[in-house]
Structure formats: structure tokens, C-alpha cells
């Protein structure tokens, strides 16, 4: 039997990031997939070995534009562990608040993209409409909508003036909460959405464990892991986290886990605002201690881990960075095999890959050996035209 290959990727120049998926199809059915990455490998680890400790938070902040608070926080925690540095309580709370607000905007961004892919643009606009106030809130609190530059080794760079901004934070959260509840209901109750996401891209608990997936992908497949709970950093021990775990492992579960988490993040921010203490926001490091340390943060996409080795100079000997999508992207392979080609884009997007793009798609028909390239829009149209008997 001849085989068709559908290449998805590698890049769209304006919108999303590059990654290449070569999808082997038999008719509409996906029989295999090969993933090629590295199109935007920027050598961050190499650069980090040539910069001073103080410069690296700015460098790693630029790893990702969506979860830009995660990497500097993770790096700072790794260095603080290496040097045995304490962080003031107020700084821990500020890190928690910024981290959770970031989770809300990241999950809403993803939910919007997912809605767009399943062809439900009204829902996409609703999700993004509620994401916008969170980005505006970031601009007020930190000066930037993204890349907040809040973290530094030993604390945070900037205080949040709560006498001025607490009312605004609470107003924003109170305003988006009922809408999120409504949107969550829309996802679970709308038969048109359910038809596209239920039992699609199933990742079993056993597969999830073997591939060591993290974050919402793991929690949607029944693995109760959350760094905020398992190894509380920042102020999570004090404010607490209610981890959402579902067992079905399909796209619907991943969608629900993220929406429920966004709702939980709202509560975490409120609890943190209630309990935030007064005091300094940074303890200056006194000396550079040789040794090594690990930083771990629950990013919106899952566990982020940094390993830092210091040799006593102001430049680290090694900075190892492992972002969550690195563990989650390979889980696309078992999910996608056996599915319909039309669901491929949704399955790829459902792990919320932070590369974040899969814009071009190559389809190779295994019967004719003909290869063709299409983009997401065309692929979505294909779904609408699919033969009903298949």
C-alpha cells in the first residue's frame, strides 16, 4: 500500500512559532507522525554560560513570550538554592500573584486558539476578550503586557503598590470570573464543541507516565502532579492550591483542566492579596557560592526545571533549561496515530505546545504518494468536507 505524508510546519512568519510535523496518512486516517524541531533553537544555554548571573533573568525571560515570568522565576530559584539565599516573604507573594495572573492569560490564550481551530471563532473572541483585561492589568502592575521583568536573584525587582492597585486587581478578577464559568459550561454542554473534542487525542495514564508528560496534559490523563502542590515554592504553601485532575485524557479533559485551573488561579490571587505581608522585596546576595541547584516552577504548560552550576565566579558554569513543552510534545505521537487527519491540528494544539506553531501542514496520500502543503485554514475546511461514512 502506498502512503501519504502530510507535512505540518515548519513555520508561519508572523503569528506562531515553528515546528514540523510529518504526518503519514492512509486516506483520512493518520498512521504515523514524525516531529522535527530546532527551527528556533537560539542557543540560550550557550549564551547563559557567557553572561553574568544578574543578566541571565533578562535572557531567560525571552525564552517564551507567553509564560515569560516562569523562566526567570525558575532560574532565580535555582540560583537561590545554589547560594543558600533567602527570599523575603513579600517577594514570594508577588511572585505567586504574577505567576497566577500569567496562568490565567496563558490558559485563556490557549482556549481561544483551540476554539479557533475547531472552527468556533465566536468562542475564540470571547476567550480573548476576557484575556485582554489580564494583559492590561499586567501593564499597570509591571509596566509590560508581557516580559514583566519582575524577578531578580533574591526577590523581585518591583513592588506592587496595593493601596493603589488592589481594587483594580479584584475588579478585573471579579469581572472575568462569571464569564469563565459560562465559557466552561459552553465547552462542556455545547454538542458541537463536544463532538470535536470528546474522545479525541486520548493519552492513557500509562502512556503519560512513560513519556513523563507534565502540567495540564498529565493532569488530564489522571496523573496528580503539580509542582505548586508537590514542592511548594514562592507562597504556594501559605495560599494553597486545589489541583484539578481528570482521567479521560482526551482533548476535552485538557480543555477543562485548563479552564478550571484558570478559575482556581483567580482564587489563589485573591487569597494571596489577603495574606501578603509588608516588608522588603529583595535580599541582596552577599557572595557567589560554588555549587549547584535546581529551580522548579509550575508553568501554565507544566513543570519547568532549571539546573544551575556555579563555580564561584560571576558567570555560571552551566545553566540547563527544560521547558514543559519539551516533555509534552512527544506525547502527540501516541495521541495522533489512528485519528482523523482533520483532528491532527487540534490534537497538536491541545498539548498547548509552546513552540507555538504548526501552521503549515503537508499531507502525503499513501495511496498516490502525492505530497501537498496546506495551512491550518485549509485543513479546517477539509474537516468540514470530510466524507461522512469514514
Amino acid at each position: 500500500m502506498s502512503e501519504a505524508i502530510v507535512p505540518i510546519g515548519p513555520y508561519h512568519p508572523a503569528l506562531k512559532e515553528p515546528e514540523f510535523f510529518k504526518i503519514f496518512v492512509d486516506g483520512e486516517k493518520v498512521v504515523n507522525v514524525a516531529i522535527r524541531l530546532g527551527y528556533t533553537h537560539r542557543g540560550i544555554e550557550y549564551l547563559a554560560e557567557r553572561k553574568t548571573f544578574n543578566e541571565i533573568p533578562f535572557l531567560v525571560e525571552r525564552i517564551c513570550g507567553i509564560c515569560s515570568n516562569v523562566h526567570p522565576m525558575c532560574f532565580c530559584q535555582a540560583v537561590e538554592e545554589t547560594w543558600g539565599l533567602q527570599v523575603p516573604d513579600r517577594a514570594k507573594y508577588i511572585r505567586t500573584i504574577v505567576g497566577e495572573l500569567e496562568r490565567i492569560h496563558s490558559h485563556l490564550l490557549w482556549a481561544g486558539v483551540a476554539a479557533h481551530i475547531i472552527g468556533y471563532d465566536t468562542l475564540f473572541m470571547h476567550f480573548w476578550r476576557h484575556r485582554e483585561p489580564v494583559c492590561e492589568l499586567f501593564e499597570t502592575l509591571t509596566g509590560n503586557r508581557q516580559n514583566y521583568a519582575m524577578n531578580c536573584i533574591g526577590g523581585v525587582r518591583k513592588d506592587i503598590d496595593l493601596t493603589k492597585h488592589e481594587a483594580l486587581i479584584l475588579r478585573t478578577l471579579t469581572q472575568i470570573r462569571p464569564s469563565l464559568v459560562r465559557l466552561e459550561r459552553a465547552v462542556t454542554e455545547d454538542p458541537a464543541i463536544r463532538a470535536r473534542v470528546e474522545d479525541i487525542g486520548v493519552l492513557s495514564k500509562d502512556q503519560a507516565r512513560k513519556l513523563c508528560v507534565v502540567g495540564p496534559v498529565a493532569r488530564a490523563s489522571g496523573l496528580a502532579m503539580d509542582v505548586r502542590k508537590d514542592e511548594p515554592y514562592a507562597a504556594y504553601k501559605e495560599v494553597g492550591v486545589d489541583t484539578k485532575v481528570l482521567t479521560e485524557g482526551d482533548v476535552l479533559s485538557r480543555m477543562l483542566v485548563r479552564l478550571l485551573e484558570a478559575l482556581e488561579s483567580i482564587e489563589i490571587v485573591k487569597r494571596a492579596l489577603d495574606a501578603i505581608p509588608q516588608g522588603p522585596i529583595r535580599f541582596e546576595p552577599r557572595e557567589i557560592v560554588p555549587g549547584d541547584g535546581i529551580g522548579k516552577v509550575e508553568a501554565p504548560r507544566g513543570e519547568d526545571i532549571h539546573y544551575v552550576r556555579s563555580n564561584g565566579t560571576d558567570i555560571p558554569e552551566r545553566v540547563k533549561i527544560r521547558a514543559p513543552s519539551y516533555m509534552n510534545v512527544p506525547s502527540i505521537i501516541p495521541q495522533i496515530i489512528g485519528s482523523s487527519l482533520a483532528d491532527a491540528s487540534l490534537i497538536i494544539a491541545a498539548v498547548d505546545p509552546c513552540f507555538c506553531c504548526t501552521e503549515r501542514i503537508a499531507v502525503l496520500d499513501i495511496k498516490t504518494n502525492r505530497e501537498s502543503s496546506l495551512n491550518f485554514e485549509l485543513l479546517a475546511q477539509r474537516w468540514k468536507k470530510r466524507p461522512t461514512h469514514s
Partner: protein
């Protein structure tokens, strides 16, 4: 560096003690030593030929999750750290081993733990450490025309 007894968290401590005990039995003289940096970080040093048995114990019996593997260039040798997370205990068990820089090689663990697939490929590419028995030791990150014997994170001279 703290000794095992100085740690406060009893549960973590008992699982570390169990883990060390088990690894000592399975690995014999391939097990070298264990130290605790704090109550959440265990550093277990083994000989490099013990890695496969070590991963089997961690994955099958302690339900550990492989967070990642870090390689560090130490001029004449590579230090390689397998960061395993025990989620229930909130513990990172770092399995540390070294390989000489000349003809650097370690046994693959991808067949035991598929999550190591990309991680090993990346280390092979960036440091030039061979993972013996890897099912698909192809390029992961560098471009197709990148020379095969140039490893970006490997220090020369």
C-alpha cells in the same frame, strides 16, 4: 551539605532511605554515595554502568518521573545528572555519573523510559556523548547542514 539524619521531613527521608537501600542492593559496588543538599534534593552518585538498573528501580518501583538530564562539561570529563522527580514526596533524586571526555558514552535508557528519547538525542548533539543502544540517534535541534562532529556546548581546549 546535610547528612541524611539532619533532614526534617520524615516522609521524604524514609523514601530516600528506602531508595538508597534498594539501589545499594541492586547496584552493589556500582553505587557510590548519597548526600542530601536539603530535604527536597538527594544526590546519588553511581558508576555509569549502573544507570540502566538504576532507572528501572526508580521508574518501576518508586514511580519516579524523569524531569530531564543535564550534562556538564568538566574539561576532562562530563558530569551527567538524571533529575528524577518523586511527585508524591516532592523530592528530586539526582542520579549523578561521569564519563571521560574521550569517546564519551553512556548506555541509553530510552527503551526503559521513552521520555529519555529526545533528551538523549539532544545531549548527543550538543555535547557529543554517545548513548549506546539508542533506537533513533538522529539530530534533534541543529540544522541538517550542521557538521556531525561539532558539538555546540562541548568546550574545546
Amino acid at each position: 551539605m546535610l547528612s541524611l539524619t539532619a533532614c526534617s521531613q520524615v516522609r521524604v527521608l524514609s523514601s530516600v532511605a528506602q531508595l538508597v537501600e534498594k539501589l545499594r542492593t541492586v547496584l552493589g559496588d556500582r553505587f557510590q554515595d548519597c548526600s542530601m543538599r536539603n530535604e527536597r534534593r538527594a544526590y546519588i552518585r553511581i558508576r555509569k554502568d549502573g544507570i540502566r538498573d538504576c532507572v528501572r528501580v526508580l521508574f518501576d518501583q518508586f514511580e519516579a518521573r524523569l524531569s530531564t538530564i543535564s550534562a556538564v562539561d568538566r574539561n576532562f570529563k562530563f558530569d551527567v545528572l538524571y533529575h528524577f522527580t518523586l511527585d508524591q514526596e516532592g523530592l528530586v533524586a539526582n542520579i549523578c555519573l561521569s564519563t571521560p571526555k574521550q569517546a564519551a558514552s553512556i548506555d541509553t535508557v530510552t527503551d526503559i523510559l521513552p521520555a529519555a528519547n529526545w533528551i538523549e538525542r539532544e545531549i548527543r548533539e550538543l555535547f557529543g556523548i554517545e548513548f549506546i543502544g539508542h533506537p533513533s540517534p538522529e539530530k534533534l535541534l541543529t540544522s541538517d547542514d550542521w557538521p556531525e562532529n561539532e558539538h555546540p556546548l562541548r568546550r574545546t581546549g
